[in-house]
């Protein structure tokens, strides 16, 4: 497996957008150096030929378990909504989505 290309400031700026984080130019610069250092440490993995191994996504061999389809108590709606930043008519309230300009 070949080494991926080094991390650039443009990569970090793009990732921040994907992760819904606003970064200042100074933060982009600082995080680029730190993340490049961490990814540099992972170069030891890039040097391994692991093509014969499967990926491990989880330590247990999980199988899907379904409970019986019966009504059970759930969280108290008022208690849940009491923790939301904004609520209207028993629903979570967000800024307007429909009708926004592109």
């Amino acid at each position: 497996m070949s080494d991926p290309t080094p991390l650039s400031a443009a990569d970090v700026a793009k990732v921040a957008v994907l992760a819904r984080l606003n970064l200042t130019d100074e933060e982009v610069e600082r995080f680029t150096g730190q993340l490049a250092s961490i990814l540099g440490h992972a170069a030891d993995l890039a040097a391994l030929d692991l093509s014969a191994l499967k990926v491990t996504e989880h330590p247990l061999e999980l199988i899907n378990v379904l409970r019986s389809d019966e009504v059970r108590p759930s969280l108290d709606r008022a208690e849940v909504l009491s923790q939301a930043p904004a609520v209207a008519d028993h629903r979570f309230l967000v800024p307007q989505i429909v009708g926004e300009e592109g």
Partner: protein
């Protein structure tokens, strides 16, 4: 005093739970101004719970195995109606509408939750310096860190403010602070303890576990919290282990691997403590085998791709809509970003970005999939090792507790303090850190015992031998 003895005396009516709680509150008021192990102390609720236990004893009703025992609970384990913030501004003031299953188990056992303990934000860190509440100090030397991310839980037990606490361990967050604070810390087998109500960091690695001043108390607490939970789809459907009754059975006939790769790079004093622990096990009848598992060296790199990848997905839920901080903006996307930018600290942002990058198109195979294959490599290497040994012995940490501020500016340097604890999490196995002396500066040293899945009973027996041999 030990948790087991407190519970026995309370149950027998020889000691009142309210007195135990008052004594614990007194210790907290004496020490916690300086140490800051607790983010919140639930004094009145604890007193009320204690009176309930005392009334039950007086009326001859049965009480549980932790009757009247004060306990601290890490700030990422949901307590209904009480602030559970993961030491993050983004969850500041959040009061969960439900209890974690382990909280229910504690209460059913008669334990008294006396406070919520400090941590690195979202359990990301190795020093408890990444807390929105400010750092916790090491009870042995307050100029040093208690370790992390469960530093508050470790310091609370280390300082004697509570006999027990709960933490969580994703890459060493119970064992490393246990070593730094001179207490016992157990990372159980993945799936043995319910994660329902544990705020998710890296779901394939996270596990709740106990801190205690003794191996026996750790065993007692682990018995209480272990067991199948239908509310956690990753919970193992196995009976809760019997640990306390087997603690004195010794290590005769066990083969223990002294693992070079979990010792190399440790300070000379820590290396000597591991050797001395091996000698104690040998003297008790174990066969010590020197061994190497070179694949473990890849654990750190694999972990720092897998854990951030899972975190970037798990922490996507903090969007300013259903709970936690919202910073208003003109539209939803800007509100999401403004809220997350204001709510997350730098280490959390670093890991989210690292994980997002490792999962992004063009890099997924090179980073994330390669890390997942490395995880398989490490699991296979452990499986090979456990064909010839029953347990593995090594150091918990390369150094003893470092100074506050010493590693905050260099994330990679901070990550290296977890190099010996991470492989266990990747494999989903259990491990324990047990105190094994101190260095020239008087700072605690921990040694680590590792075992295959569901070997807790064997691990705790061996840890008890080391503990007894040193006393």
């Amino acid at each position: 005093m030990s948790a087991r003895r407190i519970a026995a005396e309370v149950a027998a009516g020889n000691r009142r739970a309210i007195e135990v709680v008052e004594a614990s509150l007194e210790e907290i008021s004496t020490h916690d101004g300086e140490l800051h192990a607790f983010t919140e102390v639930h004094a009145e609720a604890a007193r009320e719970a204690a009176r309930g236990i005392d009334a039950a004893v007086a009326e001859g009703r049965g009480v549980g195995p932790l009757a009247g025992v004060p306990i601290g609970v890490k700030d990422n384990i949901c307590q209904r109606g009480r602030v559970t913030s993961c030491a993050s501004k983004i969850l500041d003031g959040w009061r969960p509408p439900y209890d974690a299953t382990v909280v229910r188990s504690l209460e059913a056992a008669g334990a008294i939750i006396i406070g919520t303990t400090n941590m690195d934000e979202f359990a990301m860190g190795s020093s408890t310096e990444n807390s929105a509440y400010g750092p916790t100090k090491n009870p042995v030397d307050p100029s040093r860190v208690p370790g992390g991310s469960s530093g508050g839980s470790a310091a609370a037990v280390g300082a004697g403010m509570v006999p027990l606490s709960l933490g969580s361990d994703t890459g060493g967050s119970i064992r490393q602070p246990a070593a730094f604070c001179g207490v016992v810390g157990v990372k159980p087998t993945y799936g043995l303890v319910s994660r329902y109500g544990l705020v998710a960091f890296a779901s394939s690695l996270d596990q709740v576990g106990p801190f205690a001043q003794s191996v026996e108390d750790a065993a007692l607490l682990l018995e209480v919290i272990a067991g199948h939970d239908p509310l956690d789809s990753t919970s193992l459907d196995v009976p809760a282990p019997m640990l306390v009754d087997r603690l004195d059975d010794g290590v005769g006939g066990l083969r223990v691997g002294l693992c070079r790769d979990l010792i190399e790079g440790a300070s000379p004093e820590i290396t000597a403590a591991v050797t001395a622990s091996a000698e104690l096990l040998a003297a008790a009848g174990a066969e010590i085998v020197e061994m190497s598992i070179p694949e473990l060296h890849y654990g750190l790199s694999a972990y720092y791709l897998i854990a951030p990848a899972e975190a970037s997905s798990n922490l996507a839920r903090y969007d300013g809509v259903r709970y936690g901080l919202r910073v208003d903006a003109a539209n939803v996307a800007e509100m999401n970003a403004a809220s997350r930018t204001a709510g997350f600290g730098d280490e959390v942002k670093r890991r989210i970005m690292l994980g997002t990058y490792a999962l992004s198109a063009g890099y997924y195979d090179a980073y994330y999939a390669q890390a997942q294959r490395t995880r398989t490599l490490i699991i296979n290497a452990f499986a090979d090792a456990y064909r010839s040994v029953d347990l593995i012995l090594g150091a918990t940490t390369p150094t003893t507790a470092f100074g506050l501020g010493a590693k905050v500016s260099d994330p990679m340097e901070m990550y290296l303090s977890d190099v010996f604890t991470i492989p266990t999490n990747l494999a989903g196995h259990p491990a324990i850190s047990v105190p094994a002396g101190s260095d020239a500066a008087g700072l605690p040293i921990g040694v680590q015992l590792l075992g295959p899945a569901l070997s807790e009973e064997r691990l705790l027996r061996a840890a008890a031998v080391i503990e007894k041999g040193r006393s």
